[in-house]
Symmetry: C2
């Protein structure tokens, strides 16, 4: 059974306590919100510069979101700003590892312990990426928080079309995770022969993907090392070709405690006009470049609910960050063309 093979792979390779494939990363985060019993009035801390699916699962359970600004040197959440928004209603911190680059997990786990909060890693982009502790020890992203969510959406390093995974590292949550994933029934216990019929014992939903999806994912996992090697080559090529042009734009920064899983290569332009010009130059040359995200605290849905704090770095990445093409099949020639266009060296 491919689902089980995938679970075993993830658990043994990355030290995840318990893996559960889901239909999407969004669904994995919905399971997380159910598992920690998020209820109306609870507060959850997360970056504003992230995808809507980081926030929606908690909003659906009635939580208020306290959005945190990004770091000045990286689009990830500024860990030094977390403590000031903690209140007695705070229940969880969602650590979104932007571009697969680790948040400072040692700091975040310390804060969580101090205030009794849950930590959920939004590891949508963070497969095969690591965090190095101050004592030199190293752990895979997704193995550190109480819970973690991964994406295998077609835009990710490892894909299954649509698909995701919940990792449960807190052993006390494992049996309830099984139930919530099986539509609130104790069907898993039934199949293990622990009970003689299964019934409705809790809230839940249908979070299981099809075996077809798991089989697709398994084929990707069998090639994980090749995929990662190729992506890192591409990432390094961009880096080498663009590093002498800082000033025109800035290049990705990777903190010393983080690894690079080559999920994304992005540039940060000085302003939105420069970025828009770069996108246009690329488009003219048949190259699709993408920007993301739009600060969630300024979204049509949440701006009226936000507490009013300014989050200038989040807004800057919203306006100035540009993702370059990065996929397994990208050739050296294609990469050359992208670089030439970005450096305005393509116009004959």
């Amino acid at each position: 059974m491919f689902t089980k093979k995938c679970h075993s792979f993830f658990e043994s390779r990355f030290g995840f306590r318990k893996a559960f494939l889901t239909t999407s990363c969004t669904d994995a985060l919905e399971m997380a919100a159910l598992l920690i019993n998020i209820s109306p009035g609870d507060e959850v801390i997360m970056p504003s510069f992230t995808f809507v699916s980081t926030a929606n699962p908690f909003v659906l359970r009635g939580a208020t979101i306290r959005f945190i600004d990004s770091r000045s040197d990286h689009p990830g959440m500024d860990e030094s700003l977390i403590e000031e928004v903690i209140t007695p209603k705070t229940r969880a911190i969602v650590a979104m590892h932007y571009g697969g680059v680790a948040c400072d997990m040692e700091k975040i786990m310390q804060i969580a312990t101090k205030y009794g909060l849950f930590v959920i890693e939004d590891a949508a982009q963070a497969i095969d990426s690591y965090y190095t502790y101050s004592d030199g020890s190293k752990k895979a992203l997704g193995s550190i928080g109480h819970l973690a969510a991964f994406s295998f959406h077609e835009t990710k390093n490892i894909i299954s079309g649509e698909g995701g995974m919940l990792v449960v590292n807190d052993p006390s949550m494992i049996s309830r995770a099984e139930i919530i994933r099986e539509k609130g029934t104790n069907r898993s216990s039934f199949f293990r022969g622990e009970i003689d019929k299964y019934g409705w014992v809790d809230i839940g939903s249908s979070f299981l993907p099809s075996e077809i999806i798991a089989a697709f994912l398994w084929a990707q996992l069998e090639n994980l090392d090749d995929i990662q090697k190729k992506r890192k080559q591409i990432w390094n090529s961009y880096w080498l070709r663009l590093k002498d042009h800082e000033g025109k734009f800035s290049l990705p920064f990777i903190p010393s405690y983080a690894s690079n899983n080559a999920h994304v290569f992005y540039l940060v332009y000085p302003d939105i006009e420069e970025r828009t010009k770069a996108i246009e130059d690329c488009r003219t040359n048949g190259i699709l470049t993408i920007f993301h995200y739009l600060s969630l605290h300024k979204s049509a849905y949440y701006s009226g609910k936000h507490d009013g704090r300014e989050l200038p770095n989040s807004d800057r990445y919203t306006d100035c960050l540009l993702r370059l093409p990065l996929y397994f099949e990208l050739t050296e020639e294609q990469l050359d063309k992208v670089v030439n266009v970005l450096l305005n060296e393509s116009r004959e």
Copy 2:
């Protein structure tokens, strides 16, 4: 794009106003609960004799469920009992078409209109099944309520592994359904070129299945008529072979306004002992027979929340209903063997 091909097929063949493939029928019902804005304290009416996924999506939004008994002649909900549980808090009726056999939709829609309620068809089992109105006109199940949910789980007539579909018949809900399905963003409008970037505008989740799933489903839809023909042959064979043995068990009843889509062939035994004996006889002969469901109003999760009404027919089907093997590949010989075992004619 297979998803779009599937949508067009369903809309043109069955008269569905708008079809949206989802990752499961459960997820389709979750979309329905979001679309009609179910909130804490709202009441939703549905049968007790159904799968947990009929109830969970509404419970997740905070609704109280008013469970209705089954009909004495059929496991479907007894429509005559609906009005007595309607209160000012009632928001919706979930009409679950048991075994693909229509609820009395004319009656249910009249009640809904009288009290201003939404009707959601739980058409998980009801693909290619129909309701005939008292004036002789006919409509496909799933095209009648404001919303309807279908399942393509591997146990259904038409499958995609895990998969489902929301049908939106109320045109005022279509654009919001697009947004909720796209994680609360207006991404669909963006792809149609109606807006120049997409953002967070509403609550939502990731309800889209992978294209792989849609491709699998499409191959099934191309063979819908063959699949249905074969299933009806099997169903009719069971009927012909077993109809002279009523008394030992009762056979499926199909009201005159309903069609038979051959989703399930079931027997209802006089008591649980007889059913248990039949299951054991089958098991001894290498035949897997399944019973379902367990009355939800008596479940571990809901019994303490139920209003105390007795639902004797639901309990009777819980104890006495048995499903016989019914799948496309079932041969005449296999069917003979099942029948012989059930009639105790197999023992040489």
